[in-house]
Amino acid sequence: MSASAVHSLWTTAVEPITKIDAPTFEYGQMAPTLIIVGAAIIGILIEAFVPRKSRYYVQMFVSVVALVAAFAAVVALAADGYGTTKARIAAMGAIAVDGPALFLQGTILLAALVGLFTFAERRLDPVVHGNRVDSFAAQAASVPGSESEKAAVKAGFTTTEVFPLLLFAVAGMLIFPAANDLLTLFVALEVFSLPLYLLCALARRKRLMSQEAAVKYFLLGAFASAFTLFGIAMLYGYAGSMSYATIAQVVEGTVQDVNPALADTMGNDALLLVGAALLVMGLLFKVGAVPFHMWTPDVYQGAPTPVTGFMAAATKVAAFGALLRVLYVVLPGLRWDWRPVMWAVAIVTMLGGAIVAITQTDIKRLLAYSSIAHAGFILAGVIATTPDGVSSVLFYLAAYSFVTIGAFAVVTLVRDAGGEATHLSKWAGLGRRSPLVAAVFAVFLLAFAGIPLTSGFAGKFAVFKAAAEGGAAPLVVIGVISSAIAAFFYIRVIVLMFFSEPRPEGPTVAVPSPLTITAIGVGVAVTLVLGVAPQYFLDLAGQAGVFVR
């Protein structure tokens, strides 16, 4: 058997490589992500080279500067028209620069900035051995309760790694909703998930619970990632490409050239359906939609509260952004297949989240279930499949992020000897003891409940309106019913705070530094402004409602 025969059997001859096209990379349009990644890498170097005493300040400075600069870059891009007329696909087809991407990136960056303030808070816990401490473990590697942990606490160690970890997560989140091919999507998913798994494990108090939460999150997240990857593989088999645009063309049957290597599978609808289902499943896991929500309460409860707040806000924004893009750009030709499924998911998510929340006795778990119910409301807007649907989802996400971060920031303030007092019974009579904190929390709860004149109402109205116009009127009715159910437990907390007798051994409200005050203040301001005068932001979201393909 000659060498050439083998050659023809197993391989095909390639053109001789004379030159490789140098990849073009639009640094300007990628600036927000690049700034964050760069700052995160600098953060790691700071950990290595800057003396322990000054790390906290340097890290914080770098992080804040990076987030502000990245946000400025997003604003500059949007002002330059990349959100509307100049929307395009950058980085060799890997990243979309368009309205939804820029809007969501801006939201994520602002949420991260506010979240960062709660990360950096050092006045809440009592001073230990003369050192101010934050919410994170002194030395994550030391076993809880061990001598090495005590030594680390005594030495005043702090986990300043949380700042670069946060930035890496943010970088992944920035790419996730902008990803324009499936591999980029997957890489972004991992880039933002892995730092979050770590951050969840870093609580200073209740460390075992925190580590348990991280392990749960990691295992379930790994499963979800595997599903996503499997779905991506199938979609590749179906379309012969990772690119969103090409897959969409194959779904619509407008693609001409068939990849010879995939001639057997290309256009096979079974691959498409299974692949799309697995991919969407992975995204719904990140969103926290029923029935992929099981991790949410445990992780939200166990993770350090600043991380929970950041995660609840920013992850949801990024994941919904990616979900929107996948459904609207990749799978619009399949919408008669995915809409009924998403209907079902939205219904069980709205009702499930609202009903289970009623029985919760821990404030963080309660907020977790509330976030599940909100995911259901947002899904109602996703199902609309209209530009209005997109912009309503964008608006809802922006409104919801700030309420969430603010609410969790308030949770960090209510403390007793064991750290944060998250059991609801301990919140009894908070309104008598600290009327201001209770009033602020009540504002957040009313926004969650969607009472008019708060951002929650404007968002809910936008989403339900889009859903009704998109022909999903029954979803609106179910949404309204679950809002009513949800209102019950928000109000229960308000009753507890204002109309119950304070317990004698109840928790105290710590006086925070300006950092947390800023986070909470921004939350309240955004909640009220978006509630009373949402027009400007609705316009913004409305302009950003069109995906580039």
Binding site: P435, L446, A449, I451, P452, L453, F457, A458, F461, A462, F464, K465, A468, E469, A473, V476, V477, V480, I481, S483, A484, A487, F488, I491, R492, V495, F498, F499, S500, E501, P534, Q535, L538, D539, G542
Partner: protein
């Protein structure tokens, strides 16, 4: 641009609420005076509205219109018709009395407590409710109305849950529990109603494309906006459900007795005489105008429910042992009359219903506030704990009697005129329902007179023997209300003149004419 009178009338109590809440803790008397002054100034503005309103002119007057949330098709549109003018005047009139009557309701338990702030909160919340109620009477944009219709629940909720009678038969702890139960029940009922309405509001937008009451009603009238019968009915039901919870109509009424029983007398007046009126008002303004066909379709069912409210409320009032609960059930019976008058679809019925809203507000305020003064003296809400009060406190007993007689619609007192109009208006179209409803009056005589007899007449119980008569502050509250009851009973023309043209408009919206008397052909 003309002076935005309607906005200012609503903004004044809103600003007043913020200012009152900001008064330092130690200066609580100043906060009370501030609240009272603001409410009086609002009353002056309400009178200006009533004077500037021309009954023979445009349907909606003093209108204001500004862009607000273009994406939702929402505009900031205000305007008043005669019905709104009457109800704004009622609201602005009652609030100063409510504030004055509740002068000491939120005082600190032990004198000299420096950091006690609820006093400021109490009066600020009352003013906040006033602002929102006035705005919901003024709004001619459905969305704008909805916002204030819902938002007013929050201050109301804190008023019910945060402040209650000092005296309670089971002690302070049980009182707090029952109060928060009542507040939650109030909020949940109304929130569910409001959320159902939200679905209908969104549906209305999908069908009509905007929220302007005048535009939609006009498009409906000239046929440019067609609605499928089933769509219209669903939307109507969504709106009506919310209003029926608020009004409240049987079987959605059960929150009212709890809320009125547990809150202080002035807050109870605020609920039943002011806030609940938004529900019946909205039936007239929104249900009938936006969904005339569906309103006609639903009329028989609603009339039956209203009739049940009248009889059921009255029967339960007869059986009550608690004074405030008794008044609450009496109110449910009266709301039945109001709703019956609205849906009888005759001009007498609707004029009567509007007049009834005003008169019920005044008479219930009088009765409830005096009952509150009585309860604060003895420290008990139970009827059985009283007896022979008229011998020790004749003025209190006498005014209480007038309030009671007004509640049973004695001729010569204001509610009689309206109840008569409602019954006549119903009878001309639905004689059977009109006849059965008349029994409500008989029962009213029973529950009010028995209440008076048991508490005021008979031998003087030892616990009430030292009861002081009405103080000056209390007299200032009671006397004007009693005078108004008598005045409007003899001369209701000022109110009916303002109301009638608006009612005629509403009647033409639903394309109903009054039934004409039939003359039997001569043999």
């Amino acid at each position: 641009m003309s002076f935005p009178l309607l906005t200012v009338t609503a903004a004044l109590p809103a600003v007043g609420a913020i200012a009152t809440a900001a008064v330092p803790a130690a200066r609580r008397t100043a906060a009370k005076w501030l609240a009272l002054l603001v409410s009086l100034a609002t009353l002056v503005l309400a009178i200006v509205i009533a004077v500037r309103f021309d009954p023979g002119g445009e349907r909606y007057q003093l209108t204001e219109s500004h862009a607000w949330i273009a994406d939702f098709g929402v505009r900031y549109e205000l305007g008043v018709d005669g019905i709104a003018v009457a109800l704004i005047a009622l609201t602005a009139l009652l609030i100063p009395f409510i504030i004055l009557a509740g002068w000491h309701d939120a005082d600190p338990l032990e004198t000299g407590s420096k950091r006690w702030r609820p006093t400021q909160g109490f009066f600020a919340l009352i003013l906040a409710v006033e602002a929102m109620v006035i705005l919901s009477f003024e709004a001619t944009d459905v969305f704008l109305f909805y916002i204030f219709f819902e938002a007013m629940l929050i201050p109301m909720y804190f008023l019910i849950g945060g402040f209650g009678d000092r005296a309670h038969e089971h002690g302070e702890k049980a009182a707090a529990t029952q109060r928060s139960y009542a507040a939650v029940k109030f909020l949940l009922y109304n929130l569910v109603g409001g959320l159902i309405m939200l679905a209908a509001v969104i549906g209305l937008y999908v069908v009509a494309g905007n929220f302007s009451l005048t535009e939609i009603a006009e498009a409906r009238a000239n046929g440019s906006l067609e609605m499928a019968a089933s769509t219209e009915r669903w939307l109507f039901l969504g709106f009506f459900f919310a209003f029926a919870v608020k009004a409240p109509l049987w079987p959605l009424h059960t929150w009212l007795p709890n809320a009125m029983q547990e809150s202080t007398a002035p807050v109870a007046v605020l609920i039943t005489a002011v806030v609940d009126k938004v529900g019946t008002f909205a039936m007239l303004r929104f249900c009938l105008q936006l969904f005339p066909e569906a309103s006609k379709w639903a009329t028989p069912a609603i009339l039956v429910l209203a009739l049940i409210s009248i009889i059921y409320g009255a029967l339960l009032a007869v059986g009550q042992r608690d004074i405030k609960r008794l008044i609450a059930y009496a109110s449910i019976s009266h709301f039945g009359f109001i709703i019956m008058g609205i849906f009888a679809m005759t001009s007498q019925g609707q004029s009567g219903a509007t007049l009834y809203m005003v008169n019920h507000g005044i008479s219930t305020a009088a009765l409830m506030l005096i009952a509150g003064f009585l309860i604060s003296r003895r420290g008990s809400r139970l009827i059985a704990d009283y007896g022979g009060v008229q011998k020790v406190a004749p003025v209190l007993a006498g005014t209480f009697l007038i309030g009671s007689l007004a509640t049973l619609s004695l001729p010569g007192l204001a509610p009689f005129v309206s109840e008569f109009l409602v019954l006549v208006g119903t009878f001309t179209r639905y004689p059977v329902i009109g006849i059965i409803a008349t029994f409500g009056i008989v029962l009213a005589a029973l529950y009010t007179l028995v209440l008076y007899q048991r508490t005021m007449t008979g031998p003087v119980k030892p616990e009430v023997s030292a009861m002081p008569d009405l103080r000056v502050r209390e007299l200032v509250v009671v006397a004007p209300l009693v005078v108004l009851l008598i005045f409007l009973g003899v001369y209701p023309k000022p109110v009916t003149d303002i109301v009638d043209p608006a009612v005629k408009q509403t009647m033409s919206d639903v394309q109903k004419k009054d039934p004409q008397p039939e003359v039997e052909a001569a043999k």
